[in-house]
């Protein structure tokens, strides 16, 4: 490792007496103090204050934001998930549980579907591995990040909730149509 020796700066007498610098520091903080005071009266054109007043002001999430995972349907309204359980396998906190089942009819390319699909949002760490692992591009992390419930049970997102959050996503990969 390359080391660089940094010389300690020699303090001048004025600096060593300390008072001037203390006063300088005090002036700096009071400048910010009055800056925020000013902002309070003209919040729209705020200059100094930087915090966002959350419920009134909200973030504009970027597209790669990792919120809650959700299942999507294709443009024909059929579920893309084939219950391969790769997400369940890759999920580091083991938040995903899938109960696969077999279609009663044989009129499509897919034989398997998730009978139940549950994501325990109390375990989920929003890592996005499920989205990466999914071979069918059926699970995505959506921008929904404000999960507030008063009952622990509500944090377990079932299939209905996951599809409601995910909605429809147009895609070329259509396991139903062709292989």
């Amino acid at each position: 490792m390359k080391t660089r020796i940094v010389k300690r700066p020699q303090l001048s007498v004025g600096e060593r007496i300390y008072f001037a610098t203390v006063v300088k520091g005090l002036l700096l903080t009071i400048k910010h103090f009055f800056g925020v005071c000013r902002d309070l009266f003209d919040w729209k054109n705020k200059k100094t204050a930087i915090t966002m007043q959350y419920p009134e002001e909200r973030w504009d999430f970027k597209d790669n934001f990792r919120g809650a995972p959700a299942l999507v349907m294709d443009q024909f309204g059929r579920e893309k998930c084939v219950a391969c359980q790769m997400c369940e396998f890759v999920c580091p906190p083991k938040a995903i549980t899938i109960w696969p089942a077999e279609f009663a009819t044989k009129d499509n390319n897919v034989e398997k579907f998730p009978d139940r699909f549950e994501i325990d949002m109390l375990r989920c760490i929003y890592c996005g591995f499920c989205e990466e692992a999914c071979p069918e591009e059926a699970i995505f992390l959506v921008k929904e990040a404000e999960l507030v419930h008063t009952d622990k049970k509500d944090f377990i997102h079932d299939k209905g909730k996951l599809y409601e959050m995910g909605g429809i996503r147009e895609d070329r990969i259509l396991k139903w149509q062709h292989k």
């Binding site: 084939v82 219950a83 391969c84 359980q85 369940e88 089942a101 077999e102 044989k106 034989e111 292989k179």
Partner: protein, 509 residues
Amino acid sequence: MSGTVNVTVDGKQVAVPGGLNLIEAARYAGKSVPHYCYHPRLSVAGNCRICLVEIQGQGKLQIACNTRVTEGMSYFTDNERVRKAREGIMELLLINHPLDCPICDQAGECKLQEYAVEHGSGITRYAFEKVRKPKNVSWGDKVVFDSERCILCTRCVRFLDEVAGTPEVGLDMRGEKCTLVVKGDGKLTSPYQMNVIDLCPVGALTSRDFRFKSRVWFMHFTDTVCTSCARGCNVTVGSRGDRVLRMVPRANPDVNHNWMCDHGRLHYAFVNDETRLTVPRVAGKGAPYAAAIARAKAILEGARGQGILAVASPFMTNEELFAMKELLDRLGVEDRFFLKPMGEGDDLLVHPEKCPNARGAALLGFAEAAAEWPSKEYGALLHFAPHEGADLPEEALKRAKRRILFSLKEREADVCFPLTTWIEKDGTVVSAGDRLQRLTKGITFEPTLVTERTVLDRLHASLDASHRPPDTAAQALARLAAALPAFAGVTWTRIGPLGMKLEATGAPA
């Protein structure tokens, strides 16, 4: 075919038995040659071409499975030419593959997946529409066939012809249309048909029973022994979340080779039965083990004068039987029997004795119950109900004033202890041909369940405070081996995963 020959594999000289093919010979040099159609227990077909090797002095690459070693032969399993050939074969095999690994039960133990990673190039140059073939074809109620995944290795064809003796499957059509067909109405009839599922190197043949139950990587695997008959086929049990999901044979050249019968393979539902008894019952009410054991002790002590009838089960391990024997010795019980369920057998694997350890029970001094029961009246009955099949006749049960039962399901008794199944405990059984084999604990059905050996030992200790029961099955076996000449010299490690023959019994091999 005999003697050893010297061959050079990838520049490494090894001496191998004569008559070996190049795949087996390469193993002596620590090399593995990929193969789909070749199976050591089936005839050589040589149609998958993935095992191509370069033999020095021969122009073209040769298939390793159908070439036998000769003195001084030198061949390469891993040079540039061979790798390129394998890459080409992999690309060819995957041209029409549907790539439906997400819904394929074979995923995770699929040779196509493994070799695609090890030997494939990762790309395909084939840009045309893939061939469609029948998918999800039912081959009866046990096997599901998917023609698109099939690589036409004919392992299944050869197994049913050569091993099971029921040639039911063949290849039909040719070229891209080539597919497997089943004779007649398209349903398999062989009682060994499910072995084709294990044999199939890809996901073309999958089990109806195991279908979509679990991905293999979620499962916990336990090497143990099948208890459906006295053959004691070596098996690997796959479980997830303390429920058994499937059984597949485990290779043991002395017992079952690589096979097992469908009945044994599918015979595990009673393990997962949620209505099983999980806590002891005293007079029809649930009770803690301590209370049940105290009640059983009172019954046994009260019945000493009037005689006690002991009926063991051939589903018990040797260690459990020995614990019972020790208890009965303490109580001075003479009448010791066991009930042996019988059924049909066949020439291949199925044994007519439908229990795993009838021989062990006999060796431990229990008499096979005769058609007629002793007409005596007993003060108490200590009875281990077999998991299935023959149980004590009603009048025999009634002959005892008080009954202590061990049963899978709740039954009418003074004390009824729950039984544990073979996959829930360690122990040994004596299979056909006096072969001592190990059972291994794979699941815990209910944390409340206590194995029979522990119950017996605790009962024994409550009668006699000096009784120091062994902790593990291995310790119990050591105690048993010290006490019985038939088991002399046997230890847990000596039995090993493949079992051993009990020499001291003098039975024919």
